[in-house]
């Protein structure tokens, strides 16, 4: 049942809103004028060097240690997309920031032989993302990582400043697969399970994934 909210009828004086605005300004102004006398200021200005502002972007804000970073897709050392489009991250994502388009039957062949599929499109809405890290935790392929620092071998010029995820409009803040892969960089896969599986199968003279070129020849 919807609850009907009774609106308070405002008088003409109240409807002008000017006195309300003025009252608001008064509070702001009083804080502005009294800040230097406050305990907060005394606390922060112990070493007499406190500045309330930063010269961004030359000066960077220190990210609190609790920040996990932002989710990006990674490629393995052979530059192959690791994601197999299982959509578990999409399922687990609390704010539904992730959207995966599966490849379908006629999709591109996966980069890694044996993995059979990879996403056609992978989008993360960074405005929706709450940087909780569930996607990283749930990923069975170690294909998505939350990252805030560049890791070994990463181009320093491209060093990500995740606390400054910016864009000039909403569409720009929806990162697509290419952007996520570019930012994710390389993750060294020590196990290489699909490669191992394919090699084992070949040793047994079984061909785990249908040879598409062979199909075309027929």
């Amino acid at each position: 049942m919807a609850i009907k909210v009774q609106r308070v009828k405002l008088s003409l004086w109240e409807r002008l809103f000017i006195p309300t605005l003025w009252n608001g300004f008064k509070v702001t102004l009083s804080h502005f004028l009294s800040f230097k006398k406050s305990k907060v200021y005394a606390e922060k200005n112990k070493d007499n060097k406190f500045k309330a502002t930063l010269s961004y972007p030359e000066e960077l804000w220190t990210v609190p240690p609790g920040f996990r970073g932002a989710p990006y897709l990674v490629s393995d050392q052979d530059a192959a997309t690791k994601c197999v489009s299982c959509q578990l991250c999409e399922f687990v994502c609390p704010p539904k920031a992730i959207r995966i388009t599966p490849p379908g039957e006629a999709g591109d062949t996966a980069h890694r032989e044996g993995a059979e599929k990879m996403p056609k499109e992978f989008e993360i809405d960074m405005l929706r993302c709450i940087f909780c890290g569930y996607c990283e935790e749930v990923c069975p392929e170690e294909a998505i990582y939350l990252a805030k620092d560049y890791y070994e071998g990463y181009d320093e010029k491209m060093m990500r400043r995740d606390y400054a995820l910016t864009g000039s409009n909403r569409e720009e803040m929806i990162f697509n697969k290419d952007k996520l892969l570019e930012r994710g960089g390389t993750h060294h896969d020590r196990i290489k399970k699909w490669e191992k599986k394919t090699a084992d199968a070949k040793a047994q003279e079984m061909f785990p994934v249908e040879d598409k070129s062979k199909k075309e020849r027929e």
Partner: protein
């Protein structure tokens, strides 16, 4: 065929007393098998009666029992063999002595029986949840998983896979198998609609039994030996009959998957909606899987009165048109529904009695036909619908390709032969006695009413979901809904009145036919209608004789529907 072998059930159901998990239950002595023939009840069925699910792969209630997966092993206790006096061993208090089964050569080891193929014996005790049974299941599952690849991330079955489910419930977390797994071919093209992943197969042979015994196409078999066992077709003979996709449904693992659904969407995202197949008059019960207004698949829903657990491939795959870009989504004749319905009302009110004809479609729901009938009664209009005949088969496909021909007959839109009035309508337009024509869901130019005749009409009201020669000539075009976008009921070939639910939203300005028809009927006839499908159905049930005889109402239809006299 299940129908032919139907045996009349005895009036008094004989029961047999057994103990399941220490609880005394009386279960029927006989149970219908896959053909409907009464056969002795098994341990698995007795447990089901007692409310305990025994895990199984190869057993399927609508297939012959094979007993090869061993998953349904349970530990049971049996009465002893009768002694020289002809009496079984008794306890001191005079009750039957029940001994838990043990291996004959190793008295300390419990022996299991397969629940799906072991008949009940009076007094039997079934230890369905005992530690012994659990250990047996764990062992069977571990052995089934020896060569199973850990493919769940790329397997379409994930989320509805019995192997996953039982591993969670009954399996061990770790495998003792340290050797190399046997690899078998993956992504094998079995036929035009089915892909086989031989590695994932647990060799339950459900697909083989289905093809041979239900579909009547003995196309599948098992080749190779030992751990290299795999499902295969004959070389050069693709697995291609009209029922192949049922094997993907009954496959308990991800070995057989549908090409149509392959890598399309993970099953846990799909919203399930009960629906009906509209491909023919059989009216197979289906479940639509949709996500965010896109339909991804439809699967059969078990209804023994109609389709059992099966459906044909052609019906199942006949849904792509629903999300088509070419769907009609704009009104023609006015910009919004209120205006267009008001204008149609004004025009219809001017029409003289008997100058109106209505051509409905037997693809429309009972409710829509009922509302059209009300309009027809007001104008004493001549009505009909269009027949659509094709080929039937031995299992489910009916020769009548309209899902609701019987509804059109019962409601009185069409006579015994659909389309009998069409020449009369054409003639009426030709000689000018019919000036207004209402057409729903049919391209009448294909059925004897030429485009030139349509041009002669003063008023042509058309509702359809795709553009055609008739919609092009409509004075008022009302975009309608596909079956997945509305609710309603159909009357199938056997007279089964069944309901279907709404899975998707209609495109653009399209609206469910019964909604705007109900408004139009109210405007034109002045009779108050019902603005809900439930109310409308109940009203119809009170006015159509065949439905009245069965005292139908929306709630009583349930999921399976009710049979009416046709």
């Amino acid at each position: 065929m299940p129908d032919e072998a139907k045996v009349e059930e005895p009036s008094v159901i004989e029961t047999i007393a057994v103990k399941v998990d220490g609880k005394q239950v009386a279960v029927p002595k006989l149970t219908p098998d896959w053909q409907g023939k009464l056969v002795p009840t098994t341990v698995l069925q007795a447990c089901k009666h007692a409310g305990i699910e025994i895990p199984h792969y190869c057993y399927h209630p609508k297939l012959p029992v094979a007993g090869n997966c061993r998953m349904c092993l349970v530990h049971v206790g049996m009465p002893g063999r009768p002694g020289p006096d002809g009496k079984p061993p008794m306890n001191e208090d005079g009750s039957l002595k029940i001994d838990p089964m043990v291996l004959p050569y190793e008295r300390g080891t419990p022996k299991g029986v397969i629940g799906c193929a072991t008949n009940l014996i009076p007094g039997m005790e079934i230890y369905a949840s005992s530690p012994e049974t659990k250990e047996m299941r764990e062992a069977v599952l571990e052995s089934l998983l020896i060569n199973h690849p850990l493919d769940c991330t790329i397997c379409d079955q994930a989320g509805e896979c019995k192997l996953q489910e039982y591993s969670m419930e009954h399996g061990q977390a770790e495998s003792q198998f340290a050797e190399q797994k046997v690899h078998k071919p993956k992504a094998v093209d079995l036929g035009p609609r089915i892909v086989l992943d031989a590695e994932r197969c647990v060799l339950c042979t459900r697909c083989i039994r289905f093809s041979a015994d239900i579909a009547g196409d003995d196309a599948l078999g098992i080749v190779n030996r030992g751990s290299y066992n795999s499902i295969a077709t004959f070389p050069g003979a693709p697995f291609d009959n009209n029922y192949t996709l049922n094997t993907a449904d009954i496959c308990p693992v991800g070995a057989l998957t549908s090409k149509d659904f392959r890598f399309q969407m993970r099953v846990w995202f799909l919203k399930e909606t009960n629906s009906l197949c509209t491909g023919c008059a059989t009216g197979c019960n289906t479940v639509i899987g949709s996500r965010e207004n896109k339909m991804y698949r439809q699967e059969p829903r078990e209804n023994d009165a109609v389709n059992g657990p099966w459906m044909c491939d052609s019906g199942r795959l006949d849904y792509k048109w629903i999300g088509s870009e070419k769907r009609l989504s704009k009104l023609n004749g006015a910009t919004d529904w209120t205006t267009i319905l008001a204008e149609i009302t004004t025009n219809l009110e001017k029409a003289a009695v008997t100058s109106v004809a209505i051509i409905a479609s037997a693809r429309q729901t009972n409710e829509e036909l009922f509302l059209l009938k009300k309009l027809a009664d007001k104008f004493e209009a001549i009505t009909d619908s269009v027949p659509r005949n094709g080929e039937g088969d031995h299992l489910l496909v009916n020769a009548d390709k309209n899902p609701n021909s019987n509804g059109a007959r019962l409601i009185g839109i069409a006579g015994e032969t659909l389309g009998a009035n069409l020449p009369a309508i054409a003639e009426g337009i030709e000689n000018g006695t019919i000036k207004s024509l209402i057409v729903f869901g049919e391209d009448v130019t294909q059925h004897g009413i030429s485009a030139a005749l349509l041009e002669k009409l003063d008023l042509l009201i058309v509702s359809d979901i795709f553009a055609n020669a008739t919609t092009a000539r409509a004075h008022y075009l009302l975009p309608g809904c596909a079956y997945a976008e509305k609710r309603g009921t159909f009357t199938n070939v056997k007279g089964q009145v069944q309901k279907f639910m709404k899975a998707l939203d209609a495109p653009g300005n399209a609206r469910a036919e019964w909604e705007f028809l109900h408004e139009l009927v109210e405007n034109v006839t002045g009779q108050n209608g019902f603005s809900t499908i439930e109310g409308l159905f109940n009203q119809m049930a009170g006015e159509v004789d065949a439905f009245k005889a069965k005292e139908l109402n929306w709630a009583a239809l349930g999921d399976d529907g009710v049979t009416v006299e046709i």
